[in-house]
């Protein structure tokens, strides 16, 4: 459906007066002509004629050009046509028969998966229920009734009740979504490479490793780098050596101390903060791997968290984050109303209109100069 994002731009249509006036004025322009047989011309001045425009095709093109420019200012958009029929979404895992019974036989139901296929089709990839629910809410026109049929247990949700723009008819039917496979969290294995002046810091990581009960290995900065599956801890000053950088680019994770300078990157972010919100560790990606950098020297005076008993667990959470919980009882995920209505996605017509304006301008120039060529003696 066509719509205007800035209807006030149509005020530019007032400019159509300009070509009208131009074409009216040009009528009065008399072309001089040498004419010897003057004495047989009727010298009476011609009677004043009605309002007449000269060069109709040119005038039309100019009017059209201005109208298109005004339309361009008004920013027309084309939105997909939408129906106001009630919408039924079924979360995979719900018993289809029970779902159909719950919403009625004739209602048109869709799976709440990517692309929202019809209930008679295969549901497609399962997961991200909350995300799909928000997407559906954003895509549906305002005022359309939404019914969601969910199984008793949902999988793939995030830790918030969806806040939608409408009240949702939340029907819970039997069955549950299949649970995701449980993944054993593997604690990282640390390998230290340290410069001689940083040898004092090694003990902290040895302690952490002991707490994790994982193997630990430490060597001088000159030693060969450990295998890829280990987390390299680089304790040195200044820039990192090229070998370490290459390891990150090829997909490794490297933790560096506060004295190390990382290559500048716009993607740097804080991944660990202390209780007051001050950053403790920042991360930045490079290539396929990731840099982690402690922002403070490893001294309890400036880094009190070192002495906390939770330090090994917090470091493990940063190095290998545990999966977030994604399974919930359906009755605990009833969406709440509150979010403002999204602006629906629409196709901008501006580029096409600009092309049209350019073509019209070209035609106008052609017509105008052709007229001048013709009038030239």
């Amino acid at each position: 459906m066509p719509a205007l994002l800035f209807p006030l731009g149509l005020a530019a249509l007032l400019a159509v007066v300009v070509p009208l006036v131009i074409h009216l004025m040009r009528r009065d322009e008399l072309r001089p002509l040498v004419f010897a047989a003057l004495r047989w011309l009727d010298p009476r001045p011609k009677p004043r004629q009605r309002i007449r425009f000269s060069e109709w095709p040119l005038l039309w093109v100019r009017l059209l050009l201005i109208a298109m420019l005004a339309l361009l200012l008004a920013r027309p958009v084309l939105t997909a046509p939408l129906s106001d029929k009630p919408y039924v979404a079924v979360v995979p895992g719900a018993d289809p028969k029970a779902a159909q019974q719950a919403v009625g036989e004739d209602a048109e139901a869709h799976w709440l998966t990517a692309g929202f296929p019809r209930l008679s089709d295969t549901p497609g990839a399962v997961g991200e229920v909350s995300s799909r629910l928000r997407q559906l809410d954003a895509q549906l026109p305002q005022g359309v009734k939404l019914t969601v049929v969910v199984p008793q247990t949902l999988q793939g949700v995030d830790a918030e009740r969806p806040i939608l723009s409408r009240t949702v008819d939340w029907r819970i039917v039997a069955r549950a979504m299949p649970a995701a496979k449980s993944v054993a969290t593997k604690l990282p294995v640390l390998s230290l490479r340290y410069a001689p002046d940083r040898a004092a810091d090694v003990r902290w990581f040895r302690a952490v490793s002991a707490a994790w009960q994982t193997p630990f290995e430490a060597a001088g900065a000159d030693a060969a780098l450990p295998p890829k599956d280990r987390v390299l801890v680089w304790l040195g000053s200044g820039n990192v050596p090229p070998a370490v950088r290459a390891r990150v680019k090829s997909g490794g994770t490297v933790l560096v101390g506060a004295q190390t300078v990382l290559p500048a990157s716009p993607q740097r972010r804080v991944v660990w903060r202390d209780a007051t919100g001050a950053p403790l560790m920042e991360a930045q990606g490079e290539g396929r791997g990731e840099w982690l950098r402690l922002t403070r020297p490893l001294r309890p005076a400036v880094f009190p968290e070192l002495l906390e008993p939770t330090f090994p667990d917090q470091l493990a959470a940063v190095l290998s984050p545990p999966p977030s919980p994604a399974r919930v009882e359906a009755r605990d995920l009833i969406p709440v109303v509150g979010r403002s209505i999204f602006t629906r996605p629409s196709e901008e017509l501006t580029p096409w209109l600009a092309l049209l304006v350019a073509a019209l301008f070209l035609i106008e120039r052609l017509l105008a100069t052709a007229a001048r060529r013709r009038a030239a003696p």
């Binding site: 072309r31 010897a36 047989a37 011309l41 009727d42 010298p43 003696p377």
Partner: protein
Amino acid sequence: MVYDPIPPEVRHRLKGLRLFARRASGASGIGLHASRSRGAGLEFAQYRAYEPGDELRQIDWKLYARSDKFFVRESERESPLRVWIVLDLSASMGQSDAAKPGWSRLEAARAMAACVGELALRQGDAFGLITLSDRGVAVVEAAAGLKARDRLRLELFKLKPEGGFPSLAQLSPVWCRIRAQDMVMVFSDGFDEGCAELMTRLSAAGRDVLMVQTLTAEERDFPFQGGYRFDDPEGGAEVLGDGKALRADFLKRFAAARQAFEARLFAAGVRHTHYWLDEPVDAPLWRLFGQKPSGKETV
């Protein structure tokens, strides 16, 4: 580069044309034109060696006395016809059609005058040029031959339309030069009263006057659309008007004026025709001199 006002295709068609004087045609069977001086040898042409059979009285005895050889003195038989090309040089002759901007009345008159000169040259007739303007009446003496043709071309090349038509007093050289029985070809638009007056008087005085009225195609069709300011090139007067509104009235009045003008020339015994600027240059000459109009391109 030689200035030649005659277009090539026209030059080709000129071969079928012949100038003839009205008073001469049919009056005498000898020669191209009526001739009063039949005797040969008025105008010296060349010497050539004596050949047996030549008349003795043709031998130049004085030359024989000097060179001890017999030479025959040959002379040209002079044509009695003298053609005067009279060109109107008033500013109105500078007018041309919008469709063909370079081709003014004067350009056309120039080309036609050159054609007439070419025809006269071929027939051995003498031809001269008289240009009429209120800045002065210029006369190129009538003569025959290639030299006269070149002189004619040179004079034609220099012409520029300006001013008005000369007064009767200024026209006295015309009367001095054009003798009785001479042929006068006038190229003019005929818009000036003085021009018609001159032709009438010349014809009444026994000159063989022909006239080609050069008119633009715009005067025939009046194809103007929209507002125009019509300027008179000679008077400075102007008429403002819409082409469409003026058309019907102008065409009626102009046709009537042309008819009256032609009737006047006819009554005065002036052979006349017209030339529209979109015609081939030789068309009026064919209308005047073409003997078999049906077979030729006479337009």
